[in-house]
Amino acid sequence: MKPDVNGLTTHQIARRAAQDIPDGSYVNLGIGLPELIALSLPSDREIVLHIENGLLGMGPSPRQGEGDPELINAGKKQVTTRPGAAYFHQADSFAMIRGGHLDLSVLGALEVAANGDLANWSTGGEDAVPAVGGAMDLVSGVKAVHVLTRHCTRNGTPKLVERCSYPLTGAGVVDRIYTDLAVIDITANGFEVVELSPGVPFDHVAARTAAPLRDGRFSG
C-alpha cells in the first residue's frame, strides 16, 4: 500500500454524490453518511428531500432552540421544512417509496455485491438486535439506488464483494456506489469504475475491491 494515496473525506464523497442529482429530483437520504448530502446540494437546483417518517421538503437543522421535537428525520434528528413541503402518514410515505415515485434513494452499506445485492441492515450476529426500518422498502421501490460508503471498513476489509456475506437488504438493487476512492457502477458485468477520486490510481481501488473491477472511464 502506498501511504501517499488519500481518498475523499466523507463530506467530499457526499458532495460528489450530490453533484449527480438532477434538478427537480425527489430524493430519500438514508441514515448516517448519506445524510451529509443534505449539506452539499448544489445551490442552483431544487431537490426535494423525502423523509420516510412523513415529510417531503426537508430543510436544514433548526437553529438552537427553534426546533420541534416532533419534526424529526428518519435518524430522529430535528429538521425544518422548505417552501412546498407536505406532511403525510406512513402508508402514504411508503406508497411514495414502494410505488416508484421517488427518483433516488441514497443508502449506506455494510457490503455491496457485484450483482447489485446490498447488505446494510444487519451483521447477522447472534448478539445483534435485528432492526430493519425502511431500508428494504426503499431498495424495492425507488427508481435508482445509490450507495454512499467508505471503500473499506475501518480495519481495511473491502465492502465491495463478489457475494454479500451479511443478510441482504435487497437483491440486485444497487445502481451506483460512491466511495472515498471512486464512483463505481453496477453493470451486467459487475463493478465498473466510472470515475476515480483525485490522485487515486485504478490499481489502488482494484486492490481494495474483493471482486473483479472493470475500468469504464473511457467507454463513453
Binding site: D23, G24, Y26, E46, V48, H50, L55, L56, G57, T81, R82, P83, G84, A85, A86, Y87, F88, A91, D92, F94, A95, M96, I97, R98, G99, G100, H101, L102, S140, G141
Partner: protein, 236 residues
C-alpha cells in the same frame, strides 16, 4: 427550480397517445376535469382505456369523449346516468368494453397501483357474479377475492388549489378518486382553479403531495357539468 405549470389544457394532454390508459377523476360532476377532457377530445387520441367511476352525463365531458368514439374500454363502477345514453348506446352496440368493479374495489385497486402493491384480497363481491374469473381464497373463514392493482399512463384530475410543486387541495366531495389517481398515473395532470407559489399552502393540510403530480394547468373558472347538461350543451 420546480415549476410544474403548463400553459393550457391543450399542452397538458399533448403527450397522450392512441391506446393509452387514462384515469379520469370525479364522482358524477364533482371533481370531473371537464376542461382537460375537452382538450383530450380536441387532441384526438383514440383507442383509450378509461378508468373512471362513472361514464359521464349529457354530451359533454367524459360522455363526449365516449361519444366521439375515443374510448375502447372503460373500467368503472357505475356507468349509468339519468341524463345520458351515450355509454349505454355504444355498449349495446358492442362498440365499447366495460370492466365493472365495485366502487370500493375500484378505489383500492387504484390506490394499490399508486402504492406499489401489485394485488390484494378483499371480501367485496365474493359470492356474486362479479367473482367470475377471480381467484378466491379464505381468510379467517371468510371468502375473499384477489384483486389486481390499476395503473395508468395518464391521470387527469381537478383540484381547487395547486402550488408550483403540484401540492394539491380539493373542493369538498370533489376530492373522491383524485388523490388516488394522482398516485397511480405515470403522468398526472391537474387542472386547478387557483395556483399559488410554494410556501403558500400549509404543509399540514396538503392532501396530495406534489411528488404525485407532473403538470399543473390553471383553469380559473371551471365549467359545471350539471349546468352544461341542463342547457343541453354538447362538445365539441
Amino acid at each position: 427550480m420546480i415549476d410544474k405549470r403548463v400553459g393550457s389544457p391543450r399542452e397538458a394532454v399533448a403527450g397522450i397517445c392512441d391506446g393509452d390508459t387514462v384515469m379520469i377523476g370525479g364522482f358524477g360532476e364533482a371533481g370531473s376535469p371537464i376542461e382537460l377532457i375537452h382538450a383530450l377530445i380536441d387532441h384526438g387520441a383514440a383507442n383509450l382505456t378509461v378508468i373512471s367511476n362513472n361514464s359521464g352525463s349529457g354530451e359533454i365531458g367524459l360522455a363526449a369523449l365516449i361519444r366521439a368514439g375515443r374510448v375502447a374500454k372503460i373500467v368503472c363502477s357505475f356507468p349509468r346516468s339519468s341524463n345520458s345514453t351515450v355509454f349505454p348506446d355504444l355498449f349495446h352496440a358492442g362498440r365499447i368494453q366495460l370492466e365493472l368493479a365495485p366502487q370500493g374495489t375500484l378505489a383500492e385497486r387504484i390506490r394499490a397501483g399508486g402504492a406499489g402493491i401489485p394485488a390484494f384480497y378483499t371480501p367485496t363481491a365474493a359470492g356474486t357474479d362479479l367473482e367470475a374469473g377471480k381467484e378466491r381464497r379464505e381468510f379467517d373463514g371468510r371468502p375473499c377475492l384477489l384483486e389486481h392493482a390499476l395503473v395508468a399512463d395518464w391521470s387527469l384530475i381537478k383540484a381547487r388549489t395547486a402550488d408550483f410543486h403540484g401540492n394539491l387541495l380539493y373542493n369538498k366531495t370533489a376530492r373522491n378518486f383524485s388523490p388516488l389517481m394522482a398516485m397511480a398515473g405515470r403522468n398526472t395532470v391537474v387542472q386547478a382553479s387557483s395556483v399559488v407559489k410554494p410556501g403558500n399552502l400549509d404543509p399540514e393540510t396538503v392532501v396530495t403531495p406534489g411528488i404525485f403530480v407532473d403538470q399543473v394547468v390553471h383553469v380559473p373558472n371551471p365549467q359545471h357539468e350539471s349546468e352544461l347538461v341542463a342547457r343541453g350543451a354538447r362538445y365539441p
